[in-house]
């Protein structure tokens, strides 16, 4: 019985013929082996998940597939034919489109113009707007309702922009569409829409490659999954019923993580942060909050609920209209980030690329940027020895994967960039740490380490506020959860009273 079932399963797998194949792909950068001898196949009409720790080589593989990088050795086969991509155009012509997190759309141009960029229809030499809108409308019908081809890209949400990017790929007749962490900045409704589109793509016979750090998504949407670790392919599972969360985590990090949140209760001390009636343009009413020493406060809300605005107001990165802030019972007038830092408050921003890292500078400089003021001689001359010591200690402590402290941060993998930003603040003498989506794009193993780091900081008596759109994470890590909705404070729920249903009921719009 079981045997015949397995036989049928094999039959099915054999029937799904491989459309895309990587053969012994290797990619090295100075001092780094990003991919080593990677071989696997992606079937036609299937969604193939790629998972692995930060720096495992997933994005590098997609960049090779899209022609952005050229492999050091190895081959790519599509539909049995060997392919040689020297640039993204080669790949597009062969029917491969990769959708990165940073979307390549032109904000000032319309939806139709973006969709047809590079092959706009013309009539006797002039742009044929009618034809253009017709093509765009046809594409939009499939992807997005309520969007007209005349709208400018800048008016769209991130989720909608992503759909336009998919539309571009389809208009190029892409047969292989690859996504690099597509859901990390989408709302839950947008994620559902993305799932729907991916399923339809699959039914039409496209092959989809899907990179994510969110394990549940693998089970929601993938037909196959390949696990990477340290640039090597560990294993491909073509039968999703044969794996579960724990098996995948084990393959990924090489050990098992029993409880990813590993929460431990703490006693809370005196009030470290006291905010009274803070108000700014991003909020719809004044906001008050107290945080105690050792307390971890989680902020939950839907995208656009005003959580980031609140943190930025508090941090002095945005102009406040009114409000007073006390740190350790001392009134502090925070009008700029530099003042906030001097008062012992630090922020890890939400948008790593635009607000966090300085991509063209080294790991060392990115970590030292603020903390070096404590080492300075005569207030201006660098103490390079102390900076190096500090940097190296954090590279080790946070296990930042980089060939050296002098590597350009832009060359690190996403998760490791996040660690660099964290390291920036850990050397400072902070009282209050504000973290905006601290684990976005971070692998399970590292998430677990970041939570432990948060607990350690709390144990040392710091107050932590963190914003997250990952509800299980908020429930798993926070001592207290504050729910925001439409720029307003809605409710504060203690850990012991919190559940998915309660938090969501506060966070969702009332008329739903």
């Amino acid at each position: 019985m079981l045997q015949s079932f397995m036989y049928i399963q094999q039959e099915i797998n054999a029937f799904m013929k491989p459309y895309l194949e990587f053969k012994s792909v290797r990619k090295t950068f100075p001092g780094v082996v990003a991919l080593n001898d990677v071989s696997f196949q992606v079937a036609e009409g299937s969604v193939h998940g790629l998972i692995g720790e930060n720096g495992a080589g997933k994005s590098t593989l997609l960049k090779i597939l899209s022609g952005a990088y050229y492999p050091t050795s190895g081959e790519i086969f599509i539909d049995g034919k060997i392919k040689d991509f020297h640039n993204t155009k080669d790949a597009l012509d062969a029917g491969v489109a990769v959708i990165y997190q940073e979307l390549n759309l032109i904000p000032e141009m319309t939806v139709a113009e973006n969709l047809l960029l590079g092959h706009m229809p013309t009539k006797s030499g002039f742009l044929d707007r009618k034809e253009m809108n017709k093509i765009a409308e046809g594409e939009l019908k499939f992807l997005l309702e309520n969007i007209s081809p005349d709208m400018k890209i800048k008016e769209l949400s991130i989720g909608q922009r992503q759909m336009i990017e998919i539309g571009k790929a389809l208009l190029h007749n892409a047969r292989i569409i690859a996504f690099d962490e597509p859901t990390s900045s989408l709302s839950s409704r947008e994620i559902k829409q993305l799932y729907k589109i991916i399923k339809e793509l699959k039914d039409k016979g496209h092959s989809v490659i899907y990179i994510t750090h969110r394990m549940e998504e693998i089970f929601d949407i993938c037909d196959e999954v390949t696990v990477f670790r340290d640039g090597e392919k560990i294993e491909t599972f073509s039968d999703m019923t044969a794996v579960d969360h724990d098996i995948l985590v084990n393959k990924m990090v090489g050990r098992s993580i029993e409880d990813i949140y590993s929460y431990r209760p703490r006693t809370h001390g005196e009030v470290v942060l006291d905010v009274k009636d803070l108000m700014g343009t991003g909020l719809s009413e004044p906001f008050s909050l107290t945080v105690r020493k050792g307390e971890i406060v989680g902020f939950f809300g839907l995208v656009g609920a005003g959580r980031t605005e609140f943190l930025k107001l508090l941090y002095g990165a945005e102009k406040k209209v009114s409000g007073t802030t006390f740190i350790n019972n001392k009134e502090v007038n925070i009008l700029s980030p530099s003042k906030a830092i001097k008062e012992g408050m630090a922020l890890c921003p939400e948008d790593r690329k635009d607000e966090g890292i300085i991509a063209v500078r080294s790991v060392d400089e990115n970590i030292s940027i603020s903390v070096r003021r404590h080492f300075n001689k005569f207030g201006i001359f660098l103490d390079r020895k102390k900076e190096t010591e500090n940097t190296n200690s954090f590279i080790k402590k946070l296990d930042i994967k980089t060939p050296s402290k002098d590597q350009m941060v832009g060359n690190l993998s996403g998760g490791n960039q996040q660690k660099v930003i964290l390291a920036r603040w850990l050397g400072e003498n902070i009282n209050v740490l504000l973290m905006d989506e601290p684990t976005r794009g971070i692998d399970v193993g590292t998430k677990n380490e970041i939570y432990k780091l948060m607990y350690n900081l709390a144990d040392e008596g710091k107050g932590i506020i963190f914003v997250s759109s990952d509800l299980p994470e908020v429930l798993g890590v926070a001592d207290r959860i504050i729910v925001m909705r439409e720029g307003k404070f809605v409710e504060s729920v203690d850990r012991d009273d919190a559940s998915q249903e309660i938090i969501l009921s506060h966070a969702l719009p009332i008329n739903n």
Binding site: S338, I358, V360, E365, I369, L382, R384, G410
Partner: protein, 325 residues
């Protein structure tokens, strides 16, 4: 077998050349250029010509040091050429009217500094982009230079002032010494101080720098104030060399300075600013100009060559950036 080892050799060679090219490509190009010119251009490699060459690039060299900071922070400054003219005229007039050389020099530097300060405030606080701000400032200051001087050169009566630009120490003219000192001061500022690092951080990602606690506005204002003061000082030195303040001098000087920096690998989009590269950029520009003079190439052709050099420099910058992404 033979071919295999040969292939290996070439590969190693390539790798070696590549790393050498990346770390010091421009320096190698310059050395090559220098050797070729020494062999083929008569009088090029003589003490007299070398000193003349260094003297001819000293002005660009000085101002390139502060321009380097402006570029490193992601901005640039087109008003330096007008400041050079304006401060020369100002220094001349102050010396003539007060009889004090010191006052004249200080007036030239401060005059330039104030203009730079204005540039900085407008760019940092009013958030108007550097192109427009400094372009407008260039026109205004050029106009001022003409108004103050009445439209013609202001001769300086006190000959002691000419020492600054014309005397020699150890056989080397003063402007060259001044430029060397500036190289050292600004090299230290860029690589060994928070000011330099913060400048690079701002150019690399201004929002990230702000959120990391860097006072962006203040640094920008300092950058432009220093730039203005340096251009002012250069104007004073030039006036001393020419024994007069001239309102219509230095046309195109700003672009020469920017070209030199970009030629040396300073990124136009900010965040990357190798100081050794900028010095080499200055030398390349000056050397080519010098060689063209020695070969009696007419001035009209020299313009074309200078334009081509600028284009090549920007092209190289582009290629490097594409590689970075």
């Amino acid at each position: 077998m033979v071919s295999k080892t040969m292939k290996l050799n070439i590969k190693i060679n390539n790798k070696f050349l590549k790393s050498l090219w990346e770390s010091s490509g421009m320096i190698i190009i310059y050395l090559g250029l220098f050797i070729v010119l020494s062999i083929f251009v008569p009088y090029f490699f003589t003490v007299r010509n070398m000193v003349g060459l260094a003297l001819s690039v000293s002005m660009v060299g000085m101002v390139a040091m502060t321009m380097l900071f402006a570029l490193a922070s992601g901005d640039f400054d087109l008003s330096v050429e007008a400041i050079v003219a304006f401060s020369g005229v100002t220094a001349a007039m102050v010396i003539n009217s007060t009889g004090s050389i010191l006052f004249g020099i200080i007036a030239g530097i401060i005059g330039g500094g104030v203009i730079g300060l204005l540039n900085g405030i407008i760019i940092a606080k009013a958030k108007i982009n550097a192109l427009i701000t400094t372009l407008a400032m260039m026109q205004i200051v050029h106009g001022l230079a003409f108004i103050v001087s009445g439209g013609s050169a202001v001769g300086i009566s006190d000959a002691r002032f000419f020492v600054l630009g014309n005397s020699r120490m150890l056989g080397i003219p003063n402007p060259i010494w001044i430029t060397i000192i500036m190289f050292i001061i600004f090299g230290v500022l860029l690589n060994r101080t928070t000011y330099g690092k913060n400048t690079l951080a701002i150019g690399g990602n201004i929002e990230a720098a702000r959120l990391a606690g860097i006072n962006v506005d203040r640094i920008k204002i300092i950058i432009f104030t220093l730039q203005g003061s340096m251009a002012g000082f250069a104007g004073v030195v030039l006036a001393s060399r020419m024994t007069s303040g001239q309102p219509n001098t230095s046309v195109g000087f700003s672009l020469d300075v920017i070209s030199a920096c970009v030629l040396g690998g300073v990124s136009l989009s900010g965040g990357i600013a190798p100081i050794a590269g900028a010095i080499v950029g200055v030398l390349i520009m000056g050397t080519i100009q010098n060689a063209m003079n020695l070969m009696n190439i007419p001035a009209f052709y020299q313009y074309v060559v200078r334009g081509l050099i600028l284009l090549i420099a920007v092209l190289i910058d582009q290629l490097k950036q594409r590689k970075r992404n």
